[in-house]
């Protein structure tokens, strides 16, 4: 069975490394982008099976990115997309609902939960 590819978009270097480590360990191929713009470029190059993306980033936020993906790229209009967020406002989860993310995970993130959500999202795809 070929490895599923996850595109990880996160502007915090340490966090990026950590998540890459954890997800590789869980058996996925992990590609990294450090902001929304880079992420958008990468999608075409690596054709990911799932996107794991920080909510708040400079230049292009996770929200803007998902909106672009859902709206502009028909081939990725239903790609599994998981938000990671450190935002304190619980209402933010509702604000992104219409873009149909697979999950909305708060930081600090529990790795067991993360693995489970990734697995489920890939299964449902």
């Amino acid at each position: 069975m070929t490895k599923k590819t996850i595109l990880l978009i996160e502007d915090e270097a340490d966090l990026c490394e950590l998540l890459q480590d954890e997800l590789s360990q869980a058996g996925y191929r992990v590609c990294i982008a450090r902001n929304g713009e880079q992420g958008l470029e990468q999608i075409h190059n690596i054709d990911p099976d799932l996107i794991l993306c920080d909510r708040a980033m400079p230049k292009m936020s996770g929200y803007d990115l998902l909106e672009r993906i859902r709206g502009v790229y028909p081939q990725y209009s239903d790609i599994p997309f998981i938000f990671l967020t450190a935002l304190a406002d619980a209402r933010d989860g509702d604000a992104v609902k219409h873009l149909k993310p697979s999950a909305y995970l708060g930081k600090p993130v529990d790795f067991d939960l993360l693995r489970e959500e990734v697995k489920q999202a890939l299964k449902n795809a």
């Binding site: 915090e12 340490d14 950590l18 954890e22 304190a88 930081k107 600090p108 993130v109």
Partner: protein, 495 residues
């Protein structure tokens, strides 16, 4: 109307004259009284018809001459043909009659004529009195009144007009056309064509309709109201001085504006506070996530961990912890400054070493960061508050990383000039928009081009305050999209 009084003055107890008169006037609205002595009440008789019998006159001549003047007086002669009619008339009696004539038709007619004349006279007097009351009441009213007939000519103007307008005293006001009256008024008020108030007033007086407000040159404001009289018989115009009302209105408007301003400032402050709390929470969560993630890996993979991995994970944890501490220091210092609890405590320390240490800490956190320093022109030791300097430098460095365009790059120059330490930080970041540079040191203020970049908005505010506490100054030159240079100066103690 009151009964008409006829008083008969006759010394006879059973006055024949009074009885005869009663036969004539009985049944009319007349009160007939008989008096035989000159009492104080008799003297008070006024505006009455008085019939004075010869016998009474002879006894009270002086009194009778007084009574003549203010009454309609009949002298009734009883002594026959020899009375001097002309002499008595010249003494002030209105009529002189002979006692025996009282019974004939001629006297009857005369008396009736006098009675009816007296009645109409009294009516007129009553009307005049009523009119006087009306005028007096209007003259003390706070509102002025002017009445025009259907041809727009003045029928009546209350005393206010003659008090305010001299020409209303001189000119015969009654009968003056409204347009002539307006010309007089505007001339006296010195309101001339071309003045917008002139046009408002002219429109009002020429149309005599509705309500207008006119601001006079003396600062007073008048409200004019025109109302049609019933059956279109003319127009009544009232003028009310609403200056006080206007002033109160202006005051209350100003107060409500002030309140609105305060409220919106309060709302803004509360919104900023909320945003700050959410930002702080976000800022804390990121290093906490790093610590927690590393801890999860260490605990779950304890079997397969090598020394290298443990060291790497521990290092990451420690750097996240130091990031948390910096964050806390910033927030705490800022709040201590706000409450006035941060004291300036200068000490001798090696500034070069501090700058280098903070640079290498920052490079550990952001490996792509390039830093060039030129610190050769400063002494080995300077006397400043080390804690404050640490916060200032680390904030400016971390800003350079946080708000970097591409690869962050910082140049730091330091030198001493005229006992002043000059520090210069130059970054290649996103810059600060021109029109926001004066607000950039405000607490919680974040420039409009920082969307998506997390931060609390206290960093530069803190730097600014820490520089000022040490007696220094800070200014910046920034080009949006190219970078920012901060120029800091600190006075050094020569001792």
């Amino acid at each position: 109307m009151d009964k008409l009084d006829i008083v008969v003055l006759d010394t006879d107890e059973k006055s024949e004259l009074a009885q005869k008169l009663w036969l004539f006037v009985g049944g009319q609205n007349v009160e007939l009284r008989h008096r035989k002595e000159a009492k104080s009440e008799t003297v008070d008789i006024r505006n009455k018809i008085v019939c004075i019998n010869e016998n009474f006159y002879n006894k009270n001549k002086e009194l009778c001459n007084k009574i003549n003047v203010s009454n309609i007086s009949f002298y009734v002669s009883q002594s026959g043909e020899d009375f001097d009619r002309i002499g008595l008339l010249s003494e002030g009696f209105d009529y002189v009659v002979h006692g025996k004539d009282i019974e004939n038709e001629h006297f009857n007619k005369l008396l009736n004529l006098v009675i009816s004349e007296q009645k109409s006279l009294q009516k007129q007097q009553d009307k005049r009195e009523e009119r006087r009351y009306f005028r007096d009441a209007l003259s003390v009213s706070p509102d002025a009144l002017i009445i025009f007939d259907e041809n727009k000519k003045i029928i009546y103007a209350s005393e206010h007009y003659s008090r305010v307008y001299k020409s209303f005293n001189d000119a015969l006001v009654e009968g003056l056309h409204v347009e002539e009256a307006f010309a007089l008024m505007s001339q006296e008020q010195d309101v001339m064509p071309g003045d917008p108030q002139y046009q408002i007033a002219r429109d009002f007086w020429y149309n005599l309709d509705g309500t207008s407000e006119i601001a006079l040159k003396n600062g007073q404001t008048l409200r004019l109201t025109a109302r049609q009289l019933p059956d279109s018989r003319g127009t009544a115009v009232t003028t009310t001085n609403i200056t006080e009302y206007k002033e109160q209105q202006a005051v209350s408007e100003e107060q409500s504006k002030k309140l609105e301003k305060l409220l919106s400032a309060e709302q803004e402050a509360s919104a900023i506070q909320k945003q700050f709390i959410s930002m702080v929470s976000h800022e804390f969560k990121t290093p906490l996530t790093i610590i927690d993630g590393n801890a999860q890996i260490l605990s779950r993979r304890s079997d397969e961990l090598t020394g290298d991995i443990v060291e790497k994970r521990s290092k990451t944890i420690r750097s996240a912890v130091s990031r948390l501490i910096n964050l806390m220091d910033g927030v705490l210092s800022s709040s201590m400054i706000e409450t006035g609890n941060l004291k300036y405590e200068p000490e001798e320390f090696d500034l070069k070493a501090l700058i280098n240490e903070l640079c290498s800490e920052q490079m550990d956190l952001a490996p792509t960061l390039q830093i060039h320093t030129d610190l050769n022109n400063i002494p080995d030791e300077v006397s400043l508050d080390k804690k404050m300097m640490t916060l200032i430098i680390s904030n400016l460095l971390s800003n350079a990383v946080k708000f970097a365009h591409e690869e962050p790059s910082v140049e730091i120059n330091a030198e001493i000039k005229n006992s002043l330490l000059l520090l210069q930080f130059n970054d290649n970041g996103i810059g600060i928009p021109d029109d926001e540079q004066d607000k950039i040191y405000d607490r919680f203020y974040r420039a409009s081009n920082t969307a998506g970049i997390t931060g609390t908005g206290i960093g530069l505010n803190l730097v600014h305050q820490l520089v000022q506490i040490q007696g220094g100054s800070i200014k910046l030159v920034s080009v949006e999209g190219e970078g920012t240079t901060f120029y800091l100066t600190f006075p050094l103690n020569d001792e």
